[in-house]
Symmetry: C2
């Protein structure tokens, strides 16, 4: 047996552990450090965006995990923020607690940040672990400037407001060199590429980073808006990140 | 032997692999997926920010790696950008090529992005791997809004310009809720905390994320500017990320 695959028989330091989960069906050892898998096996309390996804992830980490011994606290857009302090009770009592979102790194674009903010307020230790982030991996793969970049989340849905925002982002990139990063609801990805290709200046560079970590579908392509106009693509329903930038 | 620890005897797909390296002395299996270590052993060409650091990293991945069989292309601030296309010759010939920076994820805040941009121009496949990023981990651990954030790199050095920029960032956070992320030359970290504590509005939240992934020194603390004013700290010479945000 490889010693690395043996869980160390020491309890983890009491802390709020921010545990990334997979973004795709890639094998877990392709996307997570071995240490994360060890740590996860030793935790008995998790704050999770979705209990079903969390159970599935834990079983994928280690089939022998006894899910019934685990307490899940659900923290998502339906959760009353007033409940969050009670989720940290085990940690206040000295028990390590994990935080997991539906996909990727928790406490970035999901309600897990509320648990982290509360832990910080209480002076409790917070430890982020390493895992896949489509924002960061899209930025790496784009070839764009990473010395300055902004993540915007979703753009406005209404067409006029969306157009105005895209023009604003393009102008900011021209002026500051900053890379602009945003996302879209996956079933509208093709519409977004089409809209960007038509509205951006033909020489503006657009990167479409899709299916990040997916062994079959990952594709990170940087082209001018003009080249996207005539390109063939189908990003429908594949999680995708859009980047406007300079290189 | 654990099958996971055996290198798969298939050649990796020809691509430009963006290979994160460690940020601290933490064991590599704590910070990198097993897959990265396998992949690295199979590459014969690397574009690196610093050859000495790259050799040390490869030896840490696998002592049996024969460094003399490896071709390193150095790409840093001293490199003539005109040399970059020649670094991609092996990839154009079907050989996978790795990119590594001095620390953390390559092609973000280092010249590796030039190689990625050139690969994108040539239509060559680019594959980012997973590893530690102090920007992302600082954001996760801060508890701040991750739905919108900007990384600014370094702030201006001149005190008046620095003050103006900090005021601007603080106002942007107040207005948009966006998290502002920036760095400082490590030996000036304490001065930066002091400056921020004195110039930010007392209720503005400041996170200092220091020694990310370092088993002994990692510390991620979010407090009001007022609380930082009276806090005791020493971040001198420890790589540190600063975040202003809302929670």
């Amino acid at each position: 047996m490889n010693p690395v695959s043996q869980p160390p028989h020491i309890s983890p330091t009491p802390a709020l552990y921010l545990i990334p989960v997979n973004l795709s069906d890639a094998p877990l050892q392709s996307v997570l450090p071995q240490y994360n898998l060890h740590l996860v096996r030793q935790l008995r309390y998790f704050i999770v965006e979705n209990v079903r996804t969390a159970r599935r992830f834990l079983k994928a980490c280690d089939r022998s995990i006894d899910i019934d011994q685990i307490t899940f606290f659900e923290l998502n857009t339906h959760t009353d923020p007033a409940a969050v302090p009670s989720y940290l009770e085990p940690l206040r009592g000295g028990e390590p607690v994990g935080v997991m979102s539906e996909a990727g790194c928790p406490a970035v674009a999901d309600p897990g940040a509320l648990a982290v903010a509360e832990a910080q307020r209480l002076g409790l230790k917070v430890v982020p672990l390493i895992g896949p982030s489509s924002i960061l991996m899209g930025l790496m793969g784009s070839g764009f400037n990473g010395q300055g970049f902004t993540f915007h989340g979703y753009l406005p849905i209404e067409e006029g407001a969306r157009l105005a925002r895209i023009r604003e982002l393009e102008a900011d990139t021209q002026r500051t060199g900053r890379t602009q990063i945003f996302i879209e609801t996956p079933y509208r990805n093709n519409k977004m590429v089409d809209f960007l290709a038509r509205t951006l200046h033909p020489t503006t560079m657009l990167c479409v980073a899709s299916g990040i970590t997916d062994p079959q579908r990952e594709s990170i392509l940087t082209r001018t808006a003009a080249a996207w106009r005539t390109a063939r693509y189908d990003y429908s329903k594949i999680p995708t990140i859009f980047l406007i930038g300079k290189n």
